[in-house]
């Protein structure tokens, strides 16, 4: 630092808050004008919002139907299974945070305490107990992860791999009646609310991933048939709105299948979303692949790796890392797109919202219901985007 040569501005220009205000908000007449207009506008919006939220809105509609919003018509006496499935997820999350994101104390504690915050809301006591159990399992997982990170790594990965099957199995059940070692089947027609939106999102994202990779590679294939098929598929799907694909999946799929195979309506929606998402994923992956310099292929081939090994170990890892932000964007888009299944008659978060509004005692409370649904979508989307930023940092995206 070359202190002696620096000429400091006059005191008035430098002094803290006032100086900052002057410089940034009231620098010129125009600035001052814009600042004042903005302040008035913001005040007006916030005041209106505040008045509505705290004095006009009738939030009973949410409180009375909270269970519907979260799990739809899922039988209450079976809800314990869902809590156990959630606890399993939270345990894994705790484990993973401890193993792979050691330094991030605050975010980890915040994530794991989230169920505790929820416990302060006006829930029934049984719900509170479950929320506390969730937080506890999360913290147990976290502690365990810290105590032996290396030994647990493999188990945790396996845990994540089987997480979806376990979740679906617990949600659906597998026997006619309840009993020891048995879980009564809950038909998918009873799945609803956030539970359904969540499952649709997870299934569509997980299954579209391998499909999308295969299509992206297929598009670069040297075999014309594979290449044409991939291009045809991608361009066809991308040229059609998701809602038409969902209608097709509901109405047309049964036409292609023999009568004996009866594909359930939720499954049809899952297939539709997966097929749709795969086409977009393929294009994103293709973009990533194109960004990898030719020299990477050459170095790998020169080392004797064949084309599959080159893709697996050298090219794909780099391409996927490059497009993590785009991938997460797409995951979030899929989550929000699940709202469209309401139009084909499923009771996801939005679909349930519409049934709630049809109840005679809550007629006309559209604002409250849609505000609440938006809030849920926003909180979860933002959480995903936050996780992706952390992932980018810990994978060192950008510093090649």
């Amino acid at each position: 630092m070359n202190q002696s040569n620096t000429i400091l501005p006059p005191i008035t220009e430098r002094s803290g808050f006032i100086g900052w205000l002057r410089k940034n908000l009231f620098g010129t007449w125009l600035d001052s004008f814009l600042t004042i207009v903005s302040v008035v506008f913001i005040y007006w919006v916030i005041k209106a919002l505040y008045t509505w939220v705290f004095t006009i809105a009738e939030w009973e509609v949410i409180a009375a139907n909270l269970r519907l919003f979260i799990i739809g018509q899922f039988p209450l006496e079976q809800a314990g299974r869902l809590w156990i499935a959630l606890a399993f997820l939270l345990f894994l999350t705790g484990n993973s945070l401890a193993i792979w994101d050691k330094r991030a104390y605050a975010p980890a504690v915040l994530t794991l305490c989230f169920p505790l915050f929820l416990a302060f809301l006006p829930f029934e006591n049984s719900t509170r107990q479950w929320l506390i159990i969730l937080a506890v399992t999360g913290f147990v997982g976290w502690r365990l992860g810290f105590s032996k990170p290396d030994a647990l790594k493999k188990t945790v990965v396996i845990g994540w791999v089987i997480a979806l099957p376990i979740f679906v199995l617990l949600t659906r059940g597998f026997t006619e009646t309840d009993g020891v070692g048995a879980l009564a089947i809950v038909g998918t027609n009873l799945w609803g609310g956030l539970l359904l939106s969540f499952l649709l999102t997870v299934v569509a994202n997980i299954f579209s991933f391998p499909l999308g990779l295969a299509l992206a590679l297929g598009r670069r294939s040297e075999l014309p048939i594979i290449r044409w098929f991939s291009i045809g598929y991608i361009e066809l799907i991308r040229g059609v709105p998701l809602i038409t694909i969902l209608f097709m999946a509901q109405l047309m799929l049964p036409l292609f299948l023999p009568d004996s195979i009866n594909v359930d309506r939720v499954l049809r929606a899952m297939i539709g979303m997966t097929l749709f998402s795969a086409a977009y994923l393929a294009e994103n992956v293709r973009g990533g692949l194109q960004a990898i310099p030719k020299g990477q292929f050459e170095a790998s081939y020169a080392l004797g790796l064949n084309s599959i090994q080159t893709m697996t170990f050298v090219i794909m890892p780099q391409a996927l890392r490059l497009i993590i932000p785009i991938l997460v964007g797409q995951f979030i888009a899929v989550f929000k797109d699940t709202a469209l299944v309401a139009i084909v008659g499923l009771f996801d978060l939005l679909g349930i919202g519409r049934t709630v509004l049809a109840q005679p005692e809550f007629l006309g409370l559209h604002r409250e219901v849609f505000a609440f649904i938006s809030l849920i979508y926003w909180v979860l989307s933002y959480a995903m985007s936050y996780i992706s930023q952390r992932l980018e940092e810990s994978l060192g995206v950008g510093k090649r």
Binding site: G295, Q296, E298, Y301, L305
Partner: protein
Amino acid sequence: MTESATTMITVQDVHKWYGDFHALKGINMNIKQGEVIVIFGPSGSGKSTFIRTINRLEDHQRGEIVVRGTRLTHDIRNIEAIRMDTGMVFQQFNLFPHLTVMQNITLSPIQVRKWTKQKAEEIAIQLLERVGIPEQAHKFPGQLSGGQQQRVAIARALAMQPKIMLFDEPTSALDPEMIKEVLDVMVELAKSGMTMLVVTHEMGFARAVADRMFFFDQGQIVESGTPKDIFEAPKEERTKLFLSQILSH
């Protein structure tokens, strides 16, 4: 060099076209075990193209290339066999940026040679010591200097225990102060008896270790001979002119 040394590479009347552009116009070369060959010539003369046909990063359309008894054809098994025995070092290093130095070196031995991770890592450490950077094993390529990266690239190629090493202008992308550290490694390698094909304009290196030199121009070999022949008594005008240009600075 003994007279009975076995032939490593035979190149006969090799032609290569990029579309209509005739990039290699009948190249002939015979390389024996342990020979160090330096290829030089003006930009665009086909040096890179030629050296890359040896491990089939480029295909050739006429003529024949035989590497250690295996003829290069479209047969992928032949190509992979040759690539396993042939290491290559590039002008731009081409390290894998998402892998550590150690992982860069052990990837191919583990996946292709099917060595255990432990064995591959032991050999990687030895190689890193040989190229003088054992302490960098757990860094990523982006954290190393150019000279260090190129030495990692050499170690990575050597990890496959190749019988032939191809170098395509390995020092051209380096700052002057780093050229020597890479050349030192190459000189040591040459003295250890490795068969080497080196495209380079480092005439000091050529003088010190080359057995033969080939001057390329416009897709052809204009002149070849020992460094002594080339430096002291070049026969062709083009060779003289080119040498005078690169030796003048």
